[in-house]
Point group: C2
Chain length 742, copies 2
């Protein structure tokens, strides 16, 4: 018991132990939420049946009798162990997919839920679709069932060690040998070896090889060939193939990315995928079906649609972990009176501004990727019914932009959430191992984001805006994204934002206007810069370099601005629909849409616009004086008030993403809030704490090898410490000058 002497403090242990508060904190927050978490969890994926279907898919993994998909121990495994566990997961994945006859979209989700880049990822997501799209009907008839069943496991071989995005410079060749009626697949030098080929290092039986097609010394450019890699009985490499697993990476330990060289490997002439061209036995190259290439171009954007959905998924996953931890972690501020509890860290403004913007991004990315999929589907329907779609260039441009902006934002959200957990965010007990897999890889593949934004995304914008502006009236363009582009293209003409009150800044229409102005202004400047190019006699090499830099910077900012506008637009649309048709949507979703739900979503929408878009790139809005100092100050106070308003619903909003504890596998972010107890239990799994062969300790609990290691130092069996003697020696040798100067 504390004494009452004035100079002493009460022993802090008179307060309840922190672990006893955590479950209470969690329950209290849930009860305090202004809406039904169950209803919001139906709204987020679009419907109750959707949510329940996802739960059912997850249960197929969670309830696996062999516990193949349990991942509690995963982070403690070596790369080798993790790779071989990945093999077991891959096999079981196929068994489940085959047993339940899962369609592509379900199978994609099932793989996502395995939470590991599997050696069969590329087989499912790229090799199989490519084979289907580029094979002739006869080829697909004979090869398709093998690929679909998993009897053949494919990989997609395009990138070379020295060549990535510049397709035309790949150096692998496929030369027709007219005598034997075979293609000779060849790697001319080591740097032309196929590289980063997912699934090829240890697993795949077949590769779809992109190679320069050569007939009679004439080159026809890159074409896909089906090339067997490994024997179907023994799994040994077939002659002429040499493959190295590429070695450890930043993440993705279960994926066997491979590096492959072909030494004059021969495949039958019919192994050229022949949907778009045939080569006959006399070496005649004939193009065909060129009209259906359009369809392929359309389906190619599907990968980017999926990447946006996955970006939203990982952002929300990080957010629920971090918000739960911030709910149960109490850490003292100087404002707290000595005898009271320390505050929950979620009550700190700096934590709120990090986590509530993460929450806003998670919702925004979710809705934006749903809209992207809808537009994609409209395009595919048009292509299938009419053989063409005016949406094709639009969906290409939008999906390129959103892929880069969504994956960038997702990674930054994930990292922000991890860091918000302070010291414990550095422990794998936080449950952020996934960050090194998809979030870090997704910013590079399917177009490296920096290149995507500065290149194709910006080119699309400049072209579209030019076309729309040159039209007297954008008549007939009723499809939403085109109409949006038209709005954007004229938005730049407003030179000053007119709103002056906090309420003006909280109006979603105004928020969109501000974001639209930025897009339009930046695209306008970029167009002007580019149109001032061409052969000008006065242009010096130096001014060309300066111009290239200006172009790169403007293009990147314009594309990002456009992506953020699209994302905000989706969010605003959703909130408007809910406001105008709550009954109708409640029915469609299968859950009651209440006013508090809409208000909470509206707040998140404002945070996305004000914090994630405007305040984080403020220069973009002030450079041309579109926003004034006074307006910015209103934005800051409006945003602060909105963040504060979200406090009550934060946990509920995060938990509405319906991430399962088993899936999250985060001791610090578990739903019961017992972060400390769970972290201690988790530590006990660390091999260094275990005895036995794999463990780090001997039967006395002493670390293995102690006696031959630092034990020699502690027991005085090694070079003794004798600083004074040493200094005398060094002085004699004249070496002292060095040490004393440093």
């Amino acid at each position: 018991m504390p004494s009452s002497t004035s100079s002493s403090n009460s022993p802090p242990s008179s307060l309840p132990p922190p672990e006893t508060l955590q479950s209470q904190d969690m329950e209290r927050e849930r009860k305090g939420c202004s809406f039904s978490i169950d209803s919001m969890s139906c709204l987020l994926p679009g419907s109750r049946s959707q949510r329940d279907h996802s739960r059912w898919l997850l249960s197929l993994l969670k309830q696996d009798p062999d516990r193949t998909f349990d991942k509690e121990a995963r982070v403690f495994q070596s790369r080798n162990q993790r790779f071989f566990q990945g093999q077991r997961i891959a096999l079981r994945y196929f068994e489940i997919r085959n047993l339940h006859g899962l369609e592509k979209k379900d199978a994609d989700l099932l793989r996502l839920y395995t939470d590991e880049y599997l050696p069969i990822q590329v087989h499912e997501s790229m090799a199989q679709p490519t084979l289907r799209n580029q094979s002739s009907d006869d080829q697909w008839k004979s090869w398709g069932p093998m690929f679909r069943s998993g009897r053949w496991i494919g990989c997609y071989m395009q990138t070379e060690l020295a060549h990535g995005s510049n397709l035309s410079r790949l150096r692998t060749t496929a030369t027709l040998d007219l005598e034997t009626d075979q293609w000779i697949i060849h790697t001319p030098e080591p740097s032309a070896g196929k590289c980063w080929i997912g699934g090829s290092g240890m697993t795949a039986t077949h590769g779809i090889v992109m190679a320069n097609l050569v007939i009679r010394q004439r080159s026809y450019g890159m074409h896909p060939f089906l090339v067997p890699l490994r024997d179907l009985e023994t799994h040994r490499l077939l002659p002429g193939r040499s493959i190295l697993e590429m070695g450890c990476k930043y993440g993705a330990p279960a994926m066997d990315n491979g590096y492959i060289r072909f030494d004059n490997v021969r495949v039958p002439r019919t192994h050229l995928l022949q949907r778009f061209q045939t080569v006959d036995e006399r070496g005649n190259y004939v193009e065909r079906n060129s009209q259906s290439k359009v369809m392929i171009r359309g389906t190619m954007t599907l990968v980017r649609v999926g990447l946006c959905e996955i970006a939203a998924h990982h952002a929300s996953r990080a957010t629920v972990i971090a918000i739960r931890y911030a709910t149960v972690r109490r850490q003292g501020s100087s404002k707290t009176p000595p005898a009271s509890l320390e505050p929950q860290i979620i009550d700190y403004p700096s934590v709120q501004s990090r986590l509530f913007t993460a929450l806003a991004a998670s919702y925004a990315l979710t809705f934006a990727s749903q809209d992207l999929r809808k537009i994609y589907q409209v395009m595919i329907d048009e292509l299938e019914s009419e053989g063409r779609s005016r949406l094709l260039p639009i969906v290409h441009g939008i999906s390129s932009t959103l892929k880069a902006v969504c994956t960038n934002e997702s990674l930054s959200v994930v990292e922000r959430c991890r860091r918000s957990m302070g010291g414990h965010g550095y422990s794998q007990a936080a449950g952020f191992d996934f960050e090194r897999n998809q979030p870090n890889a997704g910013i590079i593949y399917e177009g490296e984001n920096t290149m995507l934004l500065a290149g194709p995304a910006a080119n699309f914008l400049v072209k579209q805006f030019g076309e729309i502006r040159n039209q007297a009236s954008p008549g007939g363009m009723l499809v939403p994204p085109v109409a949006q582009l038209a709005c954007l293209a004229v938005a730049g003409e407003e030179l000053k934002f007119q709103g002056l009150e906090e309420s003006d800044l909280l109006d979603h229409g105004n928020q969109l206007d501000i974001l639209a102005h930025r897009v339009s202004r930046l695209v306008g400047e970029l167009s002007e810069l580019r149109s001032s190019s061409g052969p000008r006699p006065s242009s010096s090499p130096e001014s060309d370099v300066v111009k290239d830099h200006m172009d790169s910077s403007l293009a990147t900012r314009a594309s990002r601005a456009f992506g953020q506008y699209l994302i905000a637009q989706s969010f605003v649309d959703l909130v408007s629909s809910l406001r105008s048709r709550p009954r109708q949507l409640s029915e469609r979703i299968g859950a009651e849409i209440t006013q508090p739900m809409i208000e909470s979503l509206s707040r998140l929408c404002s945070i996305y616009a004000l914090e994630n878009c405007i305040l984080s790139d403020l220069g973009d809005f002030t450079e041309d004086s579109y926003l004034s100092s006074k307006q910015i100050s209103k934005i800051r106070s409006a945003s602060a008030r909105t963040l504060a308003g979200l406090r009550r619903d934060a946990l509920g909003l995060a938990e509405s993403f319906d991430h399962d504890d088993w899936y999250l596998c985060s001791p610090l972010g578990s739903s019961d809030g017992r972060a400390y107890e769970r972290m201690i239990d988790w530590m006990k799994l660390e091999p260094l704490n275990l005895q036995g062969e794999e463990g780090g300790r001997d039967e006395n609990g002493v670390m293995k090898g102690y006696r031959q290691g630092v034990g020699r130092l502690i027991r005085g069996e090694t070079i003794p410490f004798d600083l004074e003697a040493e200094q005398r020696r060094r002085e004699k040798e004249g070496k002292v000058g060095l040490g004393s100067k440093l």
Copy 2:
């Protein structure tokens, strides 16, 4: 040979293979550098002897006959393997340190060069200094030699599982038992266990335990106690201690962070560290030596000084890897004519703006941390000679600010460099394994950066500025940092920047003025916000929350602005000194300072100010209309021109940091530029490619366990694929609705 048919392209293989160009590219760049890399490598650390001394220290590791410190295979190791290799490194480190009688600063550098967080890191950097500072002379006499020699290995036990930065809320107690004349060290509940204690999990023999000192139920607050943990003969845990290794982390695999509970552990009364207080056998608590506590406060800042130096070190290390890779990587742009070579990626504006800002940051952080160490030394000298120093609060404030700003910038540079390498940056062949160790941990410890910036750093600024502004004349304050603060405090009064030409923006004085204005403006606003606080009757809880948010945001921006100003100031000072006294400094440095060297440094300095500080936080400079649209446009063109001007020297500037190939251990960033060949060689080390017990393949080169794994799928021995049958079944069960809707 390519045919001349118009419809075909030349086979790209008519161009030289990429690998043959890489060494030539590297050599040509080096020759093209405008200055002597040798001279710059002497300037960077301050002198030729300094550089050579660092090389000598590194050679002690590099030439170790047992190759203890080689790290080529490190990234392929499991955590267990890496931990035990860390034990060997730790032992050998002690042997080398003892053999050569290395002083603290040399020993610190030697540990940095081991490139691994070692279990003895905290022993050297915290436990030993704390013991020295807080022990009485008698205690140090008897314990010091044991610690210094490594016969005792210490750890520093402060943080608890549920308590970090709020010292007063730690719950571990040390209660005096008057009968036995012993302290009883006790952990009241699991969440009060000491946590994250570096070196304690497996290694340390002693802990310095921070515990609440209690005598006769009266609490005296946190005090340090020396507590033996493990038996010095057997290394078994002593009774009453239970320790878990904390489990795997984001990085730092060789470090055994521990979680420790004490169950009424008894130590002699004399194990309280007694420099500042004694407790006699009757339980009388007597304070003493309180005046020398000031000295301790001073030396505590040394850790942060070191963290700034390390931040610069890792930034430069990442930069040289990325710039070398960008030099030898060629990747096509659409502008390249078909028959010519692809451009080096370092010629892309987007690559330059990422890498040259990384270069600028590396130089800027290097010079800033050198200045910080100088000021620190002045303060220590004053403390030692006068027992006090007017610099104490200044160095505290500055080192807190710079610790956060430098470690944040370092991590972002490292990550930017890694990502600039595109796909290959995701491979461990890039040599960025270190990123998960210090750069990611350093932003959390010694004050989590977000908290540091929003709290102590901002409080310091508000206080200092208030004091300086209230003084009629800041007379007598001649020490540079104080004078700077005084300049900063008045800089905000300039309401508009006056320069209009590119040359104005390239003037370092003007650059500092712009940065100074930002600091002053933000601190001014923060001070005003805070002074409007206090008990105001009208203040509602809601407006309090809004105000807290405004405070947190302003405080963070103000502190970062101040840190960036200090860094830029150091850089500008250096350039000015070189310009005004090149002869004198050439002599001091031991290398000729040439005009091109100075020009190159001046360019980097401009990039740091314009890109890293102004353009990346543009809103901070436009929010109050200090910079106009026209000026920003000039900043952009001035910066673009400067980036272009750095192109020629980029490799030389990066290599001047004198990072050794053996140390970098980066196949893709090696000095000979043979990135592709080295990456292939490196892949061969991957265990999955090896046969034998540790390897992933059997004697046929087939992955182990194939037959029981996916081999069953490929050979058709598992659940068959029968989509049609499955669909029929599901339709019957009425499940089809779910799948088709998703």
